[in-house]
């Protein structure tokens, strides 16, 4: 019975934390937000050198061969630092290839993913707001793909896209390479400039079907939900720290505002709601790795819970900062916007709670 992190896990987390504090402060985050996307690629390469891109890639393909819990710790740190880049899509695509790909696909892509040479993302949600594979309108016939995906993370930066679609056999996963004929990628106007979203259309686009894609679909989606939850925890934690630090320095009426009980209690409520949710994130990731029959439901719970909580914490933190928190110049809105991404991407909270109720047999 050990519900805590191992030394290796703590080391990984700490390494990423220190790297980001040093190499990716919010000044760089802002440069990348305002840039053309190439900066994210450079940063991703640097992160890949730390192992971030290959956490769950088998050692045979150059990865760390760790579990989703380890990857969730990385997600937490990226969320803490509001790190720009393709992480969520890349992580989901990696799960897809590890669990759904064959030896040929794995050899072709996993090593390149782990080293940061290649960015692979996922195309999941569609125009009707649907995230459930058996509702998808994107279809495959033979090795050709047709349809339109909205909400594809970092598609313009990607070397390949793992696409969730349907064919005669039912839902599954297909891989489309960059510049494949018939692919049309367009940038969307997004709120969270640290995680770009694009739309991708396929018109008889050549695609390779992942042999075990059907079985991997749920796993890929669950992993995404859990990683979003971990990102939201990290971001929330950062906002709570910022609000606490501000309350300890900002003076009004001759004292720091943190001495006023209204401010103390607002911060205490944030901490009381946030702190126990870390264990929920850990448990969901651990269930994904080791308690598979609980994995899908916990993934739904953690995404819904953390999306709501992240919204609450960023809202309260902004309010607590007063006018400065409402400015573009002050960093808080970076996390507010990430909270918007986390609540929307992969579907809204009530959708996942409804799934969780169904899964409980209620």
């Amino acid at each position: 019975m050990d519900f805590g992190l191992s030394e290796d896990q703590l080391l990984l987390k700490d390494t990423v934390r220190r790297f980001l504090a040093e190499r990716c402060p919010t000044t760089r985050v802002r440069q990348l937000m305002e840039g053309d996307g190439r900066g994210e690629k450079d940063l991703w390469k640097e992160l890949a050198e730390l192992g971030v891109a290959g956490v769950i890639v088998p050692a045979a393909h150059g990865g760390l061969e760790r579990e989703l819990l380890d990857l969730a710790l990385v997600a937490e740190e990226l969320g803490y630092a509001a790190t720009p880049g393709p992480f969520v899509g890349a992580a989901m695509a990696t799960v897809a290839l590890v669990e759904g790909g064959d030896a040929t696909l794995q050899k072709r892509w996993l090593e390149a993913i782990a080293s940061g040479e290649a960015i692979v993302t996922v195309a999941w949600g569609e125009e009707n707001g649907e995230w459930t594979p058996d509702q998808f309108q994107t279809t495959a016939k033979g090795d050709r793909l047709n349809g339109r995906k909205l909400m594809v993370p970092s598609a313009l930066a990607a070397d390949a896209i793992v696409v969730a679609a349907r064919d005669a056999a039912g839902p599954g996963l297909w891989l489309v390479e960059r510049d494949a004929i018939g692919t049309d990628i367009a940038a969307l106007t997004v709120n969270d400039l640290t995680r770009r979203l694009d739309s991708v259309s396929f018109a008889d686009t050549p695609a390779v079907k992942l042999p075990s894609g059907a079985a991997a679909l749920q796993r890929v989606f669950d992993a995404g939900l859990i990683l979003i939850g971990a990102d939201a925890y990290g971001g929330s934690h950062r906002c709570l720290e910022m609000a606490r630090d501000y309350a300890l320095t900002r003076e009004q009426f001759g004292q720091v505002i943190g001495a006023f009980q209204a401010v103390k209690h607002q911060l205490a409520n944030m901490a009381a709601d946030l702190e126990p949710s870390l264990a929920l994130v850990w448990y969901a990731a651990h269930a994904f790795d080791r308690i598979r029959d609980q994995s899908t439901r916990h993934a739904a719970l953690v995404k819904a819970h953390m999306a709501d909580l992240y919204d609450r914490i960023t809202r309260d933190a902004t309010e607590l900062h007063g006018g400065i928190g409402f400015t573009w110049e002050f960093d808080l809105h970076l996390w507010f916007r990430r909270a918007i991404f986390d609540r929307s991407f992969l579907g809204e909270a009530s959708y996942h709670r409804s799934r969780a109720a169904d899964l409980a047999g209620w």
Binding site: H265, E275, S350
Partner: protein
């Protein structure tokens, strides 16, 4: 991360199970009437009859109960091992066997006496308290001293071999059943407020001591006011040094917060809510099929799971010897708010039947949830109100400036 227990602990669990199978049989389980509603709500399935006492003595001798209390005073005296304690609690609960007493005596006074009591006090009180033979109440709060407990004014003056106590306590749980009270009194009126308090043990039958039950919003009386009119308490009933009662009482409060923060009772209330939602009908449909109710149930369950998994985390921190920090500090506030919200949701699941109170058979829950809906507010207040918890979290957890004391 590994939620299974190692072979050594699984072996231990098997031993505990074998012990229970042999010493607490079906006949024992059925030999006493089920507990009343309120005791069940509070998770207090406590038997103190002769058979239960006999069983407890066997369990203590095996080192399964009161592991933190020395054998000399009636405890199990075992090395600190939170995993074993957890296994024991789980298995005793499963077997519905009498475990440790959960009242204020065993969980609050005993640790205090073990730490600060005289040899004679330990011998006189600890063993019988552990067996439920001596029932205690806590004399802390006063009409003018609630959250600001250290401002208390009930005074004790030394007269020969006796402390003479005058004043009033309030919100005293179990005062009508208690044999003894552990009590904070002011003995040094001229000292700064925290330094003028002493910790006294008072026999509830002492002349001049008057218990008047208070009726709370639920309609029952679980608290009393206790009046002291020249109550004479033998000098040797002082625990710890004179004027050091505040420090002595700290070990007690620490234990009370641990007691109230547990999520086991919350789990039972939530499971009860799901059962009611499955059975009750709202607008011709099972309540559990109602989209709004489903959404709320999942929200509550998620918070409950967070508190349960946070419990695993706290347990791990305990045996690793790590500081629990915020993860421990927030639990009382988190779980007591959750309990209230669970009962509140139950009120909506019941629809108009929420208007019916305890014992009415026209509502599927027999009115239990309207009762727990009110009771949850008491728990939110007891042992440090929600606002006091927020101060603790803000000051000790987040490092914000302290309130003026």
């Amino acid at each position: 991360m590994d939620l299974s227990y190692s072979a050594e602990y699984e072996q231990f669990r098997a031993e505990v199970r074998a012990f229970l199978a042999e010493h607490w049989t079906d006949a024992d389980r059925e030999s006493s009437p089920p507990p009343d509603g309120q005791a069940a709500l509070m998770g207090a399935v406590i038997r103190t009859d002769e058979r239960a006492t006999q069983f407890r003595l066997e369990a203590i001798a095996r080192g399964y109960l009161y592991r933190h209390v020395p054998k000399a005073y009636g405890g199990g005296e075992q090395p600190y091992d939170p995993l074993k304690s957890t296994i024991i609690a789980e298995e005793f609960r499963r077997a519905k066997a009498p475990g440790e007493m959960v009242g204020q005596g065993a969980s609050m006074l005993v640790p205090t006496l073990v730490e600060h009591g005289t040899e004679a006090q330990k011998r006189q009180f600890v063993r019988d308290t552990l067996l439920g033979q001596i029932v205690w109440c806590q004399g802390y709060s006063e009409p003018g001293s609630g959250s600001d407990l250290a401002s208390l004014r009930t005074r004790a003056e030394l007269d020969g071999d006796f402390w003479v106590v005058n004043g009033q306590k309030i919100w005293t749980s179990n005062a009508t059943e208690a044999h003894w009270m552990f009590c904070l009194v002011r003995t040094e009126p001229d000292a700064p407020k925290h330094d003028g308090i002493s910790y006294l043990l008072i026999d509830m039958k002492t002349p001049g001591l008057d218990v008047r039950p208070l009726r709370q919003m639920t309609g029952e009386s679980d608290f009393s006011e206790v009046f002291f009119d020249n109550v004479r308490v033998p000098k040797q009933n002082l625990v710890g040094p004179r004027g050091k009662g505040w420090i002595v009482s700290r070990s007690t409060l620490k234990h009370e917060r641990a007691l109230i923060g547990g999520s086991f009772i919350t789990r039972r209330t939530f499971d009860g809510l799901v059962t009611v939602a499955q059975g009750a009908t709202l607008r011709g449909e099972p309540a559990i099929k109602h989209p709004v109710i489903r959404d709320r149930l999942v929200q509550l369950e998620t918070r409950l799971l967070a508190s349960e998994y946070n419990g695993y985390r706290l347990l791990t921190q305990q045996w690793r010897g790590e500081d629990q920090g915020l993860a421990g500090m927030v639990m009382k506030l988190f779980t007591t708010q959750l309990s209230y919200d669970i009962s509140k949701t139950a009120m909506d699941v019941l629809g108009d039947r929420g208007a019916l109170g305890r014992g009415d058979f026209n509502t599927p829950d027999m009115g239990m949830f309207s009762y727990s809906y009110m009771w949850a507010l008491g728990v939110l207040i007891a042992g440090g109100t929600a606002n006091i918890q927020r101060n603790i979290i803000a000051e000790r957890g987040l490092g914000l400036p302290r309130e003026k004391k």
